[in-house]
């Protein structure tokens, strides 16, 4: 995801503690430094028969991965994302319910948790909008995909997952003529080539209601921190009940016009409440979250303390003249999954 050109700039953003270390050689090492506090990000599934030739990911052996494994993983993620509320969200919602004093706010959060129990027990999707499948794929440069194309494997996985799981088809092939493709394909796919011989699949089943409330603005450097804060808070407030609060707010700051949007979506892949490892970015996350929750919009817009469960910011290098900011809103179902092959 991160273009090579921005690595140096991102290194410059590393916390003081990271600067004394030798410069990271690979993106994985860099991310390890950035997200050192979050081992889950680089957790590898055990027992999948993968052999690694050494400790350094740059010395790994070539591996082949058949498209069927990708297809099956995607199908399983589509179903799991829709049937099971993730553990991080469950904790966040439970904590929020305990904080709410207004009966309507508390009852709404309890109903959301009850909904998750019903969904899991009956293999019913938590929401009828089972989302557009957005796949982030990190492909180790020592990986060779066999048996077909990555695009076809992912779309076939989505097709199978959504059909077998009785999940709703929610994709129009043509944004102007509309209609419905009938099997929830095609997926939106973002690929990135990284070091190593693994293939990492991260999936969001992105709902339309919250996606519709997302916004972009090209600020100027003079707008700075305050401008960013105001724009993000304004976006969350305008979204109000439409985005199914309590929401998760993904923010991409920097990059270019299109890259800031990608950063905002990518920030949603982080476990809920995992703060940025950059101190000044984490402080901004906290400040924006407090301001959004001071709006009083509350669960489902019925009033209360919990309008947002978390604000996640990803920052990237940008042009000296620019300050692009994208805000990608996620509802309280926040369906995210990860598999490493």
């Amino acid at each position: 995801m991160t273009p090579q050109g921005t690595l140096a700039a991102e290194r410059a953003l590393l916390p003081e503690s990271g600067r004394g270390l030798p410069p990271p050689k690979t993106l994985r090492e860099l991310l390890g430094l950035l997200f050192g506090s979050a081992p889950v990000l680089w957790r590898c599934d055990k027992g999948n028969g993968t052999e690694r030739s050494g400790k350094q990911s740059t010395e790994t052996k070539m591996r082949t991965i058949h498209v069927n494994r990708i297809r099956d993983s995607v199908a399983a993620m589509c179903k799991r994302a829709n049937f099971e509320l993730s553990a991080d969200m469950r904790v966040a919602l439970r904590t929020a319910a305990e904080l709410e004093t207004a009966p309507l706010a508390r009852n709404t959060l309890l109903r959301i948790l009850q909904n998750a129990d019903v969904a899991q027990a009956r293999e019913l999707p938590m929401c009828q909008d089972t989302g557009l499948a957005v796949l982030f794929v990190e492909i180790g440069q020592e990986v060779r995909i066999t048996g077909g194309t990555l695009r076809d494997a992912i779309d076939e996985g989505v097709r199978q997952g959504y059909t077998e799981g009785y999940l709703r088809a929610s994709v129009s092939a043509d944004p102007i003529r509309r209609g419905n493709t009938g099997d929830n394909t095609p997926a939106v796919i973002h690929t990135e080539v990284v070091a190593g011989n693994r293939l990492r699949l991260q999936m969001l089943a992105k709902g339309g209601g919250c996606e519709n409330m997302s916004r972009f603005k090209m600020l100027t450097p003079a707008d700075g921190r305050e401008g960013i804060t105001n724009f993000v808070v304004e976006t969350a407030t305008l979204a109000g009940p439409n985005a199914c609060p309590p929401i998760v707010v993904g923010v991409g700051i920097g990059g270019t016009f299109e890259y800031s949007a990608l950063l905002s979506k990518k920030s949603l892949l982080r476990p809920i409440g995992q703060r940025s490892s950059l101190a000044h970015v984490a402080a901004l996350e906290d400040e924006i979250l407090a301001k959004i929750n001071a709006s009083g919009i509350g669960p489902q817009g019925y009033g209360g303390k919990t309008t947002s469960l978390a604000v996640h910011i990803e920052a990237g290098a940008c042009h000296v003249a620019s300050l692009p900011v994208s805000v990608n809103i996620e509802c309280h179902a926040h369906r995210h999954q990860e598999t490493i092959l």
Partner: protein, 181 residues
């Protein structure tokens, strides 16, 4: 447990509802969302007869997920109402009593609701699994080619909602934002 309300909603029953009330609805509703509402308004503009008689009825803005074999319906929670803003005045004029959805309405729709003594009910978004347990029957009755967006007739049983906009001009979301400022 909310106030029990039978559907179709009579004008008398509608009058007794106030923004912020927790209510459980039982009885028949029609579903419709973007495409179905657009088509119905287009039909009215061309003087055609609607596939359903909306007089005194509620429309539930929902596109359910497919039912598993043996199930009545899949997940079936509300979609965001504001996408239907432009269609609602024409349907309210034709006798629609109100609708079930989530999220903000524009001012014109709210004014039309008051004019026709209609009610806007909110169901909790993204709780479609739980809400599906309060749906006893569901069948497609018009526009089947729209798949989940087809018009269904549903029989609700103690379906939990909150009154968002009442027939007197009461507005829960407006009250919440007034309290915050």
């Amino acid at each position: 447990m909310g106030l029990q309300v039978e559907l179709p909603l009579t004008p008398e029953a509608a009058r007794q509802l106030h923004a912020g009330d927790e209510v459980e609805l039982s009885g028949s509703v029609y579903t419709g969302r973007d495409q179905a509402c657009a088509r119905m308004v287009q039909m009215l503009q061309h003087g055609a007869t609607l596939p359903v008689d909306l007089a005194g009825q509620l429309i539930y803005f929902v596109g359910p997920s497919p039912a598993r074999p043996g199930q009545v319906v899949g997940s079936a929670g509300p979609t965001t109402s504001d996408r239907m803003n432009r269609y609602m005045p024409a349907l309210l004029e034709r006798g629609l009593r109100g609708f079930i959805g989530k999220g903000y309405l524009d001012r014109m729709v709210k004014e039309t609701l008051v004019r026709y003594r209609g009610v806007y009910f909110g169901a909790i978004g993204r709780t479609g699994a739980l809400l599906s347990l309060s749906i006893e029957e569901a069948k497609v009755i018009a526009f089947p080619e729209l798949l989940s967006e087809a018009i269904h007739q549903m029989k609700l049983s103690q379906f939990p909602v909150v009154v968002l906009n009442d027939s007197h001009g009461g507005d829960l979301y407006a009250k919440v934002s007034a309290q915050a400022t």
